[in-house]
Amino acid sequence: MSAIEAVSLSKIYHRSKTQALSDITLTIRRGEIFTLLGRNGAGKTTFLRIAATQLMPTKGTISVLGHDARDEPLEIRNKIAVVPQEGGTIGPLTPWDHIYLTLLARGMSRDEARKRAEKTIEQLELKEYRNQPADSLSGGLRQRVRVAMAVATDADLIFLDEPTLGLDAVSRRRIWGVLDDIQKEGRSILLTTHYIDEAEILSNNVAIIDRGRLVLAGSPAELLRNVKERVRVDIVGSGFSEEELSQYGRVVKLAERFRVLTDDQRGKELADEAVRRGSDVALARVSLEDLFVELVGRDEE
């Protein structure tokens, strides 16, 4: 059984007359981490909120954990947890209060809630701040507390709307570890993020949404097969002109550096030439980010 199955899902915000989602058909399997990628306002959060029974779709159907989101929202809510985007913590409550009281409110027994709260506090390295009021914590720590409130639950499906926004690299990795543990327990995660490396590392499957439309979906490896150029060569230095580089492949100017997207053979030749001329050079496989920019950034260019 799939965790989420959306068929021809559309959403129009009538007040602003915005088509947030348009005819999205998507299947998210149980036990996987699925990431929605897209630019700001692409419709990621709208999709997540519909799946989390917080919004009604305008058209189409969506079933979550075997229940129709329109007809059986209560059944779904018993099995999910959400970390909303850019929410806050409650000033005087400590991280412990946030996690423990939330678990109690969800109907967990005291012992179970205590056990889970302790474990999550350990996992997210919040032990040191356990009894400090949330308003005295840094933004990153507060974000970790909010993530902890959802991941500490026993929900079968967890929705995380940009959970690592504003976190430092170490904290991000810590959260990745926790999400990985959740997946190992057989639970599913729907994630939205702007960090493409995060999507690439964490996700079993990714969907790229642009202006409410599904552009591409599949595993990161499958998606990268859609890219014509297989390697990228980053060159820093004044040894090359843009015209000269364009003979090797597609050139993208990134601040002080040139990025050349090309095939294996020509990439190797370019890298050798750059080394010979004394330029700083880096040769790598194209990433999901390159694909993302190519897919949703074309109109901008």
Partner: protein, 242 residues
């Protein structure tokens, strides 16, 4: 979740949003006491203690209205800023449980003042069991003034007349209907207010209640009765005399 668990969730949410706050911000207790009791203090001092009962009732209403309006702001804050509503909507806690939780938070915030005001309310003669009925009553203040304060013989007749037109005394007040003024709010006047044709006035306190401006006007009692039942002031008497 069952109804019991929803109730438990509501109490926990209420605790989360109020008691933990109060525990860590003890100074806020001063504010919670100061607002209602400043009103009580002012009313009591300015009337030399005679309007203490009114002050208690006013303070209670002030507490309840302050908490009530505060709750609307809190609910918006939790929805838009902390996204707590989004968090709880997508959880086993249903809408009623969540809203009840926020309401409990308001009640817990009001509890320090209520702990003092409710015994005072009993002290001035209002049984607590009537409190919910009074709160939901549209005319709560008017009802309190018109029905209950009179028991204490505080001589608040002028104030009562300003607030409501006093219906006649009723024997008991066990039913909800007894709390509310009569639907037929037209005042009933006794013959105390009638100008008699033999030029004798019965005692009355105000002009409005039937004092004749000109005691020399003579009216036949038969004609007067018909007109005075329709109108309030003695101009009708004059009209009748013509």
């Amino acid at each position: 979740m069952s109804a019991t668990k929803q109730f438990r969730a509501a109490v926990i949410i209420g605790y989360m949003l109020s008691i933990t706050w109060l525990r860590r911000n003890l100074l806020s207790l001063v504010w919670l006491f100061a607002t209602p009791f400043s009103l009580l203090f002012i009313i009591t001092v300015t009337t030399g203690g005679r309007s203490f009962a009114l002050g208690v009732v006013g303070s209670l209403l002030l507490v309840l209205s302050t908490v009530g309006t505060g709750l609307a702001g809190d609910a918006t804050w939790y929805r838009l800023e902390t996204k707590l509503q989004d968090f709880f909507v997508a959880s086993p806690v249903n809408q009623i449980g969540y809203l009840l939780g926020i309401a409990f938070a308001g009640l817990f915030f009001a509890s320090p003042a209520l702990v003092v005001l409710l015994p005072l309310l009993v002290y001035i003669g209002l049984p607590l069991i009537t409190l919910p009925r009074i709160i939901v009553s549209r005319r709560s203040l008017a009802v309190l003034i018109s029905h209950r304060i009179s028991r204490l013989n505080l001589h608040l007749e002028p104030a009562k007349r300003m607030a409501v037109r006093t219906p006649p005394k009723r024997p008991g007040w066990n039913t909800t209907a007894s709390l509310l003024p009569s639907r037929d709010s037209s005042p009933r006047y006794s013959t105390d207010h009638i100008c008699y044709s033999h030029n004798q006035r019965r005692p009355s306190h105000t002009r409005r209640n039937g004092e004749c401006p000109d005691p020399t006007v003579l009216v036949s009692s038969n004609r007067l009765a018909a007109h005075c039942s329709l109108t309030l002031d003695c101009s009708s008497c004059d009209f009748a005399s013509g």
